[in-house]
């Protein structure tokens, strides 16, 4: 099982670094090409949210195992403003930035599990997982 690896998000270049890290880890864990693309795309959306809304934060990627299932876990953390209305933020097409409003709902669709913990003016942690088809 590969060790957890983290990417710091400070600029738009780091978004590419984070998604490359996620893709490489997914590949190491035995995910197929399409799942690798799903995982990399989800991380790209979440890392961009960190950059746009919090400015800085981190993306941590690790392999996980549960009941003989193998998967990948991605934790995206920031100390930004938090999400005021999660229900609204998860709605397709809703955006407060220059994006398309696809980031959160899109990333959720691409992953199997998706949990948001957020507190206003404290920060946001999004933990998402994808399991390998056995």
């Amino acid at each position: 099982m590969p060790q957890a690896k983290a990417a710091v998000i400070r600029s738009d270049l780091d978004i590419v670094i984070a998604r490359t890290l996620a893709r490489d880890t997914a590949k190491e864990l035995g995910f197929g090409a399409i799942d690798q693309a799903r995982i990399a795309t989800a991380v790209s959306e979440l890392a961009r949210n960190i950059f746009l809304y919090a400015g800085t934060g981190s993306v941590t990627v690790r392999g996980i195992e549960q009941n003989a299932r193998k998967g990948i876990e991605i934790v995206c953390e920031d100390q930004g403003p938090g999400i005021a209305d999660i229900e609204l933020a998860m709605r397709d097409g809703y955006t407060t930035s220059r994006g398309m409003g696809m980031g959160l709902p899109g990333a959720k669709r691409l992953m199997d599990e998706f949990v948001i913990e957020t507190q206003q003016n404290v920060g946001t942690t999004i933990t998402c997982r994808k399991w390998r088809a056995s």
Binding site: A37, R38, M102, G106, R109
Partner: protein, 130 residues
């Protein structure tokens, strides 16, 4: 920040840009600006953007592609997107970005043929009306 420039080639009245590296946001915006300027300078009638080498298209790049297609259209140039990998097509649709209104072709060769057949049609139409 060093923003990497995507080379844009001119063949007849078609511009061809093959994106070979992962685009970060600033380089995608730079590409949009460069391409629109080049359409203006060369009076190109068509643009082919080849994504064969690209393995991730997220919502930002997807929006940029849709914007480029719409803006090029306003300038009289049609955009054809070529070489989308299966995994990219699947993630784009799952993400909710179907790029409706953007013309696509399987590969560069088919993209060029599509561009040519449209140019021929336009000529026929103008012959018929003129």
């Amino acid at each position: 920040m060093n923003s990497l420039r995507i080379p844009i080639l001119k063949v007849g009245d078609v511009l061809i840009a093959s994106i070979q590296v992962a685009l970060h946001d600033a380089s995608a915006v730079q590409f949009k600006d460069d391409l629109l300027q080049k359409i203006h300078d060369t009076k190109a009638r068509g643009v082919i953007i080849d994504l064969t080498a690209i393995d991730v298209v997220d919502s930002f790049i997807g929006r940029m592609i849709a914007d480029i297609a719409a803006m090029s259209g306003l300038m009289g140039a049609r955009v054809v997107l070529t070489g989308l990998q299966p995994a990219v097509a699947i993630t784009l649709v799952e993400l909710g970005l179907e790029l409706t209104g953007v013309l696509t072709a399987l590969n560069l060769e088919k993209g060029l043929a599509m561009m040519q057949s449209q140019a021929d049609q336009t000529e026929e139409n103008s012959d018929a009306t003129g």
